[in-house]
Symmetry: C2
Subunit: 116 residues, 2 copies
């Protein structure tokens, strides 16, 4: 699958609408349509990367920028201080359903352990 077939590529390019909470040239974040916390955003690179397994060394910076975004959104939404959880699923055992990497940011409640 490449950009032309990928739901999250289409959100990144603006072809499909989403409830955007953060955007830079390289990263976009939008609210999950099936939220699992008061705030539940998906933070993605606009560039297509299918799973963590496909990451190359040269992708490190863009993946790190997903975390910079998480910190920014937490500030916007007001839960930096109580805290929040970020999670990324890889493949079926973890429940990955869209094969374009996305960092789940969940905040606004307490979180139990283990993480699923």
């Amino acid at each position: 699958m490449n950009g032309s077939d990928c739901l999250f590529c289409k959100i990144g390019s603006g072809e499909i609408e989403a409830n955007i909470v953060y955007e830079t040239d390289e990263v976009i974040a939008f609210r999950d349509i099936n939220p699992q916390a008061p705030t539940h955003a998906l933070i993605i690179p606009k560039r297509h990367i299918a799973t963590i397994n496909e990451l190359e060394e040269t992708d490190a910076e863009i993946v790190g920028k997903l975390f910079i975004a998480a910190g920014e959104i937490a500030g916007q939404e007001g839960f930096s201080e109580p805290g929040y959880r970020v999670t990324m699923n890889c493949n079926a055992a973890a429940g990955q359903t869209v094969f374009h990497i996305h960092l789940h940011l969940l905040g606004g409640r307490d979180f139990s352990w283990p993480p699923g």
Copy 2:
């Protein structure tokens, strides 16, 4: 807190022993002493960063390298294909107890949703 007081800095420098599963100049990963899956590793930068909230733009690459490490360890442990979950907790609401960022890598079983 800085490197001289931080448990994970001491693991990164070799001052405190851990069950190491991956190491580069900048990143080290070791087994969690209270595992929540058949494989449960903590992947950290050797350099001290307390929480996601403290990340600067210049930290993006090192955070991304934690994910490069996750993919490598998944391959070593044989669960790249069924899949795995990575999680990072920020502050008390998510249960962060060591204030040196650490990416939890959990593999070897299926994972439920939500992630805690």
